[in-house]
């Protein structure tokens, strides 16, 4: 080995190998092969890149030419392991100028130490591995952080997009196939300071580098992207270091979403405090002040008689029949519905129509005996619109609900139940005097006037209106569960009382 090197020594000890440009890997490979065949030691080779404005490279002392093949001695056979070659191909895209040296040194050393590339503890291998790793990361980040902006639609249904990106290393050409394979169906151009790559649906092309100003500075969709970024962020977990290690600040200037980061961080603490400190809006339904000049009735019978005689009751669109509540006068549970329906109006009894039948089924499932409950309605008469022979139910308005409120209050006072169950929005409004979101408050035992409890749930007619059988089943199960909760609260009261 040493003898071979000796025989190749010339008068100058430096070979200056010129490469066409920073990514002239083919050129490097050709030169390296020739050098290797001639057995030139790495410390005698200098690599230069044409067009690099570097003073040191004007040094013209060494020969650019390769040693003449020695006629007496056949060219050495060169062995290069595949993994080493691919490591070199990647590592040579690194921006450090010593990469060509390093790669040749490894190649040279590998001739006498086969499998050298497999030793992660070797300093040269370690260094080139480090370069390759940096390249892979740079490529990966370019895949991730290029942001296209749309510049137009040309006929043929193809859209045009342009992006500006600043990679750390000489990777622009290397990433082109990735973008072609991914964005095949659109025309795109990626401009970097060193080179640009483009795809028109048929051919990838490489062009000269450009400037950030060459690329459009906005895209309408970016506003939505920023909206998404701001809202997918969870202020309850701030991990700035983790973000910066994966998305280093050097990339931020070309990422439309990055300008939001300082603001998001600034507000995060306050947003979490607000969530944790948020008082639970436990509803407290106080007694409604309803001054009435009427003397309160002493019994349910009297109540309904008095109500029957009121002349100021809303009658327009209402059937004349007053439907009384039904059930034991000392029932522990009182159920209040909306208003009598067609059937109820005809029979003069509450909850006998289709909704009533569904209620019966649900009550039975919740282990409640209808005979022991007091059932009534918030509005005591049937409001409807006639359509042909049919009378179509119409929802009572606020004024009508309010008119009956005082009477419902008297009903509650006389029956004196432990819990009142309000079915649907009308009943809930009647009892609380305000619009109540059923979904929000349903199923929980709420405090109510005079040490009573209130439970709000949906009206069974809502269940009947759900068109989807599966959806109806889910809602029905919830309804039964609400009734069970009411039943359990009464039992619990009995047990503790």
């Amino acid at each position: 080995m040493a003898a071979n090197l000796q025989s190749n020594r010339r008068t100058y000890n430096d070979y200056r190998m010129a490469l066409k440009n920073e990514v002239d890997i083919d050129g490097w490979r050709t030169h390296a092969r020739a050098l290797l065949q001639a057995g030139v030691a790495p410390d005698r080779v200098t690599w230069t890149v044409a067009g690099r404005s570097d003073g040191r490279q004007l040094d013209l002392t060494g020969p650019a030419a390769l040693p003449e093949p020695d006629a007496d001695r056949p060219a050495r056979s060169i062995r290069i392991a595949k993994p080493l070659l691919s490591l070199i191909n990647t590592g040579l895209l690194h921006r450090n100028e010593d990469r060509f040296d390093l790669a040749y040194r490894l190649l040279y050393r590998a001739q006498s130490v086969p499998g050298l590339h497999g030793n992660p503890a070797d300093a040269d291998v370690l260094k080139l591995n480090g370069y390759a790793k940096a390249i892979r990361r740079d490529i990966h980040k370019m895949h991730a952080f290029v942001r296209f902006r749309k510049i137009g639609d040309c006929g043929a249904g193809r859209e045009q997009f342009v992006a500006w990106f600043e990679p750390d290393h000489h990777i622009t050409e290397a990433v082109a196939p990735f973008f072609r394979n991914r964005f095949t169906g659109m025309d795109w151009l990626i401009v970097t300071p060193e080179a640009s790559i483009a795809w028109d649906g048929g051919k990838l092309s490489v062009g000269p580098g450009g400037r950030k100003e060459d690329v459009p500075q906005e895209d309408v969709i970016e506003a939505e992207w920023r909206t998404y970024y701001a809202h997918i962020f969870n202020p309850a977990r701030v991990k700035v270091a983790a973000m910066k290690s994966e998305m280093p600040m050097k990339y931020w200037k070309n990422l439309p979403e990055a300008e939001l980061i300082p603001g998001l961080l600034e507000q995060s603490g306050a947003r979490v405090d607000a969530m944790v400190a948020q008082p639970q809006d436990t509803v407290r339904f106080a007694e409604r002040a309803t001054g009435s000049a009427i003397e309160p009735p002493a019994s349910l019978d009297q109540l309904y008689q008095m109500l029957q005689q009121q002349t100021d009751a809303p009658m327009e669109k209402f059937a004349p029949t007053l439907v009384r509540g039904a059930g034991p006068e000392n029932a522990p549970i009182m159920i209040i519905g909306e208003q009598p329906g067609d059937q109820e109006d005809q029979q003069g009894r509450p909850f006998v129509g289709p909704a009533g039948q569904l209620l019966d089924r649900a009550l039975a499932e919740a282990q409640l005996d209808r005979q022991q409950l007091f059932l009534t309605n918030a509005v005591k008469r049937f409001k409807f619109t006639p359509r042909g022979k049919r009378r179509i139910h119409e929802t009572p308005n606020v004024g009508e609900i309010n008119y009956y409120h005082w009477w419902v209050e008297q009903e509650i006072r006389l029956v004196n139940p432990e819990i009142v169950i309000a079915l649907g929005a009308t009943a809930a409004r009647c009892l609380t005097g305000k619009a109540v979101k059923i979904a929000r408050h349903r199923g929980t035992i709420l405090p109510f006037i005079a040490d009573r409890s209130l439970l709000i749930t949906v009206h069974p007619s809502y269940l009947l209106r759900i068109p989807d059988a599966q959806g109806r089943q889910v809602e029905y199960a919830k309804f039964v569960r609400d009734l069970e909760a009411a039943a359990a609260s009464v039992r619990q009261d009995r047990a503790s009382g």
Binding site: E159, N181, R182, G185, I221, M243, L264, P467
Partner: protein, 413 residues
């Protein structure tokens, strides 16, 4: 109510989706658009296109189709009794948004989930329709992850698998009693049944692909699940046992752990406190030990106390300190399994050691080049020029190896 713009809906429905931990876009088949002339590709590993200040990767457009929901799961911001603002995307809006974002290289694909509206079947049909339109109408080759609804018809699940790269079903909580208490509409048994069904279909499709390249793909990225941590009283042992069972029985790709975050308008029945992030982190570490390091749940729990992992040090170190008799390990002779048990040494480090020691006996200087941090592994190894001596038996080892105390952060939450 005035009609919401696409952007307003996006704000509401991204907010609603951020409690889903998974954003993985990896592990599916390799695919590109060269042949189809469409848009989109998937590689072996996913790409994170951005990072939020919560340190989490943004890889997929992670949204809910709607946050209206007929279910009332207490830990969920979208439960029917929540006061949160509601919105619903149309199928078309989701398809357009996905393509608009994808073409600008903001995302790897779509992670679509939804509240239950009308019925589980109806909702699931809509989700499948989004995936179908993307794949069939728009020749979309990007990643699609659909959160499936266990209560929906198995036939819909089957169709979802034809279009999606990954399907997931949330197990929600570690045990059935917690599920029926906190998520009354859900049923632990049904969830596991659907999961088993899903696992079987993924497995069968994979087997068929081995015999024929033309066999249809079914969720080639596998299936995953998510468990909420800290919303019920389950301890770490219970959680890890559940995960271990899930990996073993259903062939899951991942179990995600999501520390219960305080959510706006949270239910009274839940702990209103900062999310137990460190606990979540330790569970992920333990999960890794289960899957890649050959640990069993009982071994991992040796390092904890009363069924909870040690929050101060990582579970592998905690285990090693309880099993000092198994150390020091000779870095030059030990088999792979023993090397993997050295605290501070990961899978990559072990692979490098195995390779490097073929060339020469390893010294500390070699290890410094190979490993992330030699300081951490020193007490547990011997090398050509190193023996830990009495260090390993020192009672203060725990204190010396635990991470340095952090200065209190004024803005910490």
């Amino acid at each position: 109510m005035s009609k919401l713009s696409r952007s307003e809906k996006l704000a509401i429905l991204a907010d609603a989706a951020k409690y889903d931990a998974s954003c993985a876009s990896s592990g599916s088949v390799k695919r590109n658009s060269l042949k189809s002339g469409g848009i989109g590709s998937t590689g072996g590993m996913g790409i994170c296109h951005s990072y939020a200040p919560d340190g989490r990767c943004i890889s997929l457009l992670k949204i809910l189709m709607t946050n209206y929901c007929m279910f009332d799961c207490l830990y969920c911001i979208n439960r029917s009794s929540s006061n949160v603002r509601r919105a619903a995307f149309t199928v078309q809006e989701i398809v357009d948004l996905t393509l608009d974002f994808y073409k600008r290289n903001y995302i790897e694909g779509l992670f679509l989930s939804s509240g239950i509206i009308r019925s589980p079947d109806y909702t699931m049909e809509q989700l499948v329709e989004v995936a179908r339109q993307l794949r069939v109408v728009h020749r979309f080759g990007g990643y699609i992850h659909l959160k499936t609804i266990p209560e929906a018809d198995p036939e819909l699940l089957k169709r979802a698998g034809l279009y999606a790269d990954r399907l997931s079903i949330n197990i929600e909580l570690p045990d059935d009693a917690s599920i029926s208490r906190l998520a009354p509409e859900k049923d632990g048994k049904l969830i596991r049944k659907t999961m088993a069904n899903l696992g079987r279909q993924v497995r069968e499709a994979k087997a068929e692909r081995k015999t024929s390249r033309k066999a249809p793909l079914f969720a080639p990225g596998g299936h995953s699940t998510q468990m909420i941590i800290g919303a019920d009283a389950s301890d770490d042992a219970k959680i890890l046992t559940t995960s271990d069972g899930l990996y073993g029985s259903y062939g899951l790709k991942r179990v995600y752990y999501s520390a219960f975050s305080p959510i706006p308008d949270a239910s009274n029945n839940l702990p209103l406190q900062a999310p137990p992030l460190m606990r979540e982190h330790r569970l992920y570490q333990a999960d890794w030990l289960l899957r890649f390091y050959g640990f069993s749940v009982s071994e991992i729990m040796q390092g904890g106390t009363a069924g909870q992992l040690d929050l101060t040090i990582d579970p592998k170190l905690a285990w090693a300190l309880q099993n000092r008799a198994r150390f020091p390990v000779d870095i030059n002779r030990a088999d792979k399994e023993s090397l993997l048990r050295i605290p501070g040494l990961g899978g990559k480090g072990v692979a490098k050691i195995l390779q490097a020691r073929r060339f020469s006996g390893l010294r500390l200087a070699d290890l410094e080049r190979i490993c992330q941090s030699v300081r951490k592994i020193l007490p547990f190894i011997t090398a050509v020029d190193w023996h830990p001596g009495k260090r390993l038996d020192s009672l203060s080892l725990y204190d010396r190896l635990k991470p340095p105390p952090e200065q209190l952060d004024l803005f910490a939450v």
